[in-house]
Structures are given as C-alpha cells and as structure tokens.
C-alpha cells in the first residue's frame, strides 16, 4: 500500500491552473448571471497530470477483492469474474437507452425476461421484479407488497412485522420506512427462532415475519416450514431475506418451504461488484400469493416479442427506468457461465469453505455456536482480558486482511462474523486462520500491538467517538 497520506484535491489546487485548454469562442460570450455565480464553492483548479496522479494514488490505497481476502460476514465478498465485465461492456448493452422504446431494445428485454425466469427458478417462485437497487430496497418493496396484500384482504389493522434478533440489521429499518412496526423475536438456545416467543406474539395485528435464512449466525433455520405454517395460520405472510442465498442456491428453493416473497442480492450471490465497486440490485421474487403485487413494470414475453407489463396489483415503481441494467447483464452472465450444476457447487463450496475455516479458527477462538455452519460463522473477539473485537479487526488490517464484520449480530458479545465465500483457495483460508492464531497469541503476549493497530496504514487508529460525535464532512479550507 502507498503509505504517504494523500492530500484532498482542494489542497492540490493552484489559482488559475487548468486541465483543459478551451478553444476560442466563435460566438459572442455571455457572462454567467451574477445570481447563479457561486464563488464560495472554491472548486479545485488543477492540471490533468495532477488529477491523474491524485486519483491513481487514491486507487492504490483501496482495499478490494481483487487485491486481498475480504471475509466480511453476510456481505458475500466473492470474486467477481472478469467475464461479467466483458459481457456488460458489449456495445449493444453499453450504448442502449431506456427511452429508445421496446421495439428497439428487444435484446435487452429478452435478457431481463430470461434473468427473471432463472431467478424465479432458483428460488422456487413464480415471478420476479428486477427493479430494486439494493437489498434493503428489496426488503422495502417486499414489506410494501405484504402491506398491500393485507389491505386487499380487508386486514388493514395488521401493521406489525416480526423480526428475529438474528435477522439482518436492515430489516427493522425497512419496516419502519414502510410505516410498519417492527417486533423483535428472541432466539432459542440453538440459535434458531424461539417458537414459544413467536407463538406468543402471533395475533391479528401481525402482517408478517421477516426471516433471514441462514441467519446472521450462519445457522440454517431448521424450523423454517413450521414457522411459515404458524405465521400463515395466524393470517400473516412470510418475507425471506435472501442476503445469505449464497449458502442455498441450487440446493434449497425458499419458495418451496413457505416463503411468500424474498429479495436476492445480485451483488452478493451473483457476483456483481459491491462495497464501493458498483450499484447493487436487490431483486424481489414472489410466489402465488404476492406475485401480482410486485413492483412494476416487469418484462413479459408473447410469441417471441418482449414488452413491459405492470403486475395487476403492483405496488408501483421502486426505481426509475428499469433498475441497474448493467448489473443485470453481469448477474445473467454469471448464472449462465455456472449453469445449474455450477450454482449448486458454488453454494456447496461456500459452506465447505466456511466450515473448513471454522474448524481451524475454533482451535484458538471462542465460537458462540460451535456447530456445523452454513456460509459463515460468528467468533468472539475477546481472546484475552482487555482485548476487544475492534482491536482484533484493526490488527488484521496490518496483516493484509480485510476485517470481518464486527459487533453484528448484536446477540453475540464482541462478535466477529466471518464469511470466506467459495472463491478462496485452501491456501488463503489457511493463511487467514494462521494469522488469527498469531493475533490470539499477540493478544496475550503483546496486547499493545492490538490496542494501537493498525500500524502499517497511512492513518493509524481513529478516534471513533470523535468521528461519531463531531464528524468533519466537508472541506473548509
């Protein structure tokens, strides 16, 4: 990593310097009206080479899946095959425009229709909307659909959504944003949903439940069918948070075990860039109960011709135009490159890699649930007195690894949530486990190494309290 701190582009500015030589104006010039001029903006004035060097140096400080191991739990930071980029760069995709009309974009519509079909097949659902631009956006769409369906059933008093405490952190926020009330359901000692607690809150105020399966403990919810049946019997609907679909794709169809509506993150399971690398897509898929409520328009096919149609009871548009189309091309390419058999092996190897790493890590670290996991597992970072998970995370940066997700799920003290994904080699997993073992030893022998980490970055340990309380968010020079 380039260790010299990089100044802000404003600090590189020199009055009057320009990067472009403008040709002489061949029409009479008109000054910008004073009312629109904003001299207080202090836009940076730099030449082209300075700009290139500035942004190139910044990019060299970037941590990415293309440079290092990135075991960020529940984020599925898998390798993004370059063939996806090649396909998305075809001029036909690159230069099309959503306003050219269906008749001139049949190829793009065909790809969207085929992607809707394969995604429905993978999840065991009947229809798919490709609109939502992120996982939480898909959640919001799903909660709107549940709400719309309950209102159509004459059940407008159903305003509560049940959320297990091992669910993804965005679920309660999505509920609140949709005007619903989130109600937390505790976990049982085995890490699954506490069925008695669930039973106690199921009444006619419940619109549905949001289940993350596998949950954020990396554990498969074994009672999924029973939970779905209990919620359905009480008049509720079941939302599946598909952020952890990487553990199930090609093996279990969530639509076949009682899930009514679910989002999948194309940027996680289907290998499109994320984490600063590109916009996401959180498609929503629905079974027979909710498919008519999907965000629209979606693509339909008739006699080989593709067109946009609006599902009959659609909640409406969730995104301008047709979602993040470039991401759809990448995800479709990925699915077609793998095929059905490849998708299954993807999930199998994701689970195998997580368990291989879990067993290695378990030798030196405490695990909250030391049993067979799915695609991820949760360790606890307090390996020695006075050492916190935050210290461990910072020390991992020194060792060339992206820290795992920390302090989530909230139900595990000092959580360190590790998801290796299927694309890592045995050597990488061994190296990561060896590093964690070394850090556990350092925590006892040289705790100051952890307390002051990171040591090899341009900027060392940040003051997190000051950053949260008095953030400096804009340049005031």
């Amino acid at each position: 990593m380039n260790l010299i701190p990089e100044p802000l582009v404003y600090e590189l500015s020199s009055p009057g310097r320009v990067g472009v030589a403008m040709p002489d104006c061949d029409v009479p010039g008109t000054p910008i009206p004073a009312v629109f001029a904003r001299p207080e903006l202090k836009l940076p004035e730099i030449d082209e080479l300075t700009a290139v060097r500035h942004f190139t140096r910044l990019s060299q400080k970037n941590f990415s899946i293309d440079t290092q191991f990135y075991p960020l739990g529940s984020c599925t930071m898998k390798y993004n095959p370059k063939v996806n980029e090649a396909a998305a760069s075809f001029p036909g995709w690159l230069h099309t425009h959503p306003l050219v009309g269906d008749g001139y974009s049949q190829g793009a519509l065909e790809l969207m229709w085929k992607l809707q079909r394969v995604l429905a097949e993978i999840g065991g659902f009947q229809a798919v909307s490709l609109q939502p631009a992120a996982g939480a956006h898909g959640e919001l769409s799903g909660v709107f659909m549940i709400r719309a369906c309950q209102i159509a059933r004459g059940q407008s008093g159903r305003t509560r959504i049940l959320i297990p405490d091992s669910a993804h952190g965005t679920n309660p926020a999505s509920c609140a944003m949709a005007g619903m009330e989130a109600v937390t359901i505790p976990s049982a000692p085995d890490g699954g949903v506490d069925l008695d607690a669930l039973k106690a809150v199921l009444d006619d105020s419940v619109a549905g439940i949001m289940l993350t399966n596998p949950n954020t403990l990396g554990l498969f919810e074994r009672n999924i069918e029973k939970i779905a049946a209990m919620v359905h019997e009480a008049g509720g609907l079941v939302y599946g948070d598909g952020a952890n679909l990487n553990a199930l794709a090609g093996i279990l169809k969530p639509g076949s075990v009682g899930i009514d509506v679910m989002h999948y993150n194309l940027h996680k399971t289907f290998s499109t860039p994320h984490g600063g690398g590109g916009p996401g897509v959180g498609i929503v898929a629905a079974g027979s109960t909710l498919k008519d409520y999907l965000p629209g328009p979606i693509v339909a096919e008739k006699d080989g011709t593709y067109s946009f149609v609006r599902p009959s009871a659609s909640i409406g548009r969730m995104k301008l135009f047709n979602g993040n189309f470039g991401v759809l091309v990448r995800a479709y390419t990925y699915i077609r490159m793998l095929g059905a058999e490849g998708l299954r092996r993807m999930a199998e190897n994701a689970v195998l890699n997580a368990n291989y790493l879990r067993v290695l890590v378990e030798k030196t670290w405490k695990l909250k649930y030391p049993r067979i996991c799915m695609h991820e597992f949760v360790a606890m970072g307090d390996v020695a007195p006075g050492v916190r998970t935050l210290d461990v995370a910072k020390r991992l940066i020194d060792c060339g690894f992206h820290p795992p997700t920390i302090y989530f799920p909230l139900i595990v003290p000092e959580a360190l949530m590790i998801e290796p994904t299927e694309t890592e080699s045995k050597e990488t997993l061994d190296a990561f486990a060896a590093t964690l073992a070394t850090i556990a030893r350092e925590a006892v022998e040289h705790p100051e190494l952890l307390a002051q980490a990171p040591h090899v970055t341009p900027i060392g340990r940040l003051d997190e309290v000051a950053a949260a309380r008095c953030p400096v968010l804009c340049y005031r020079g």
């Binding site: 916190r388 935050l390 302090y407 989530f408 909230l410 003290p413 997190e464 309290v465 949260a468 309380r469």
Partner: protein
C-alpha cells in the same frame, strides 16, 4: 467484572432503578455500558411524558450499536439528565451516578417488587459474560 449498585433494582435488559425520595432514578448498568462500549449519543424523552413498564424510554448509541432503553416501571418523567446531551461518556464513566438517564414519578409501586434484586441481576448478567 462489572460492578452492581446494591441500592438499585434491575430489569434483565440491563436498566437499573433506584428510589430517591418520591422519585425513581433510572439508568443502565455497568454490564450494559461495558458491553456497548464508548457511548456517543443518548436520546431521552421530554419531561412530563408518561410511559408504561417495558415501553421504549430512549435510545443509546455507541460506536458498536444503537440499543433501545426500556422503562423498568410505569410512570411520568419528572426530570431528564441534560448533561448527557453534551457528555454521553458520563454513562461509561459513572453509570450509577452522574450517568443517570431520567427520574420518574412511579405510577405503580407494586411493579417495584417484580424487578430483579442486585443479587438476582448479578446472576442474570453473569450468564452473558
């Protein structure tokens, strides 16, 4: 090891309540502040607001997480600790003293008897450590 105020009673969700004159003072336990880590923000209700036992009283935000705080007893808010707005770290430094959250006029004193004794809370919170 976390400290426990022997003069207070507790909820399993780590709030403490202590009787002072006609009022009951409420805060979060040492175990809770330790688990949360450095606290950066405390959101408290306005004076005069009425809550039932178990209602969400406010929110504590730390560098790790945001957590709801629950009312150990039903009652009306008589005073809030204004110092927490500028110095939320008081909760980390002195959770049973200057880091208190609110004082309430308790509406149902029988609820007091249902709260955990310091000994029971010590056992309960010890399970999490």
């Amino acid at each position: 090891m976390s400290t426990i105020d022997k003069n207070a009673k507790y909820r399993p969700s780590h709030e403490w309540a202590r009787r002072e004159g006609n009022l009951v003072v409420i805060g979060i336990s040492d175990h809770a502040q330790h688990a949360l880590g450095d606290i950066v923000f405390v959101e408290l209700p306005e004076t005069g607001k009425v809550f039932k036992q178990g209602d969400t009283l406010g929110v504590v935000e730390s560098v790790k997480a945001a957590s709801d705080i629950y009312m150990p007893l039903s009652g009306k808010i008589a005073a809030v600790n204004g110092d927490l707005a500028g110095s939320p770290d008081l909760v980390n430094k002195d959770c049973y003293g200057s880091g208190w959250f609110v004082k309430i006029e308790a509406a149902k004193l029988p609820e007091w008897d249902g709260l955990l004794t310091p000994e029971a809370y010590e056992v309960e919170s010890g399970k999490e450590e």
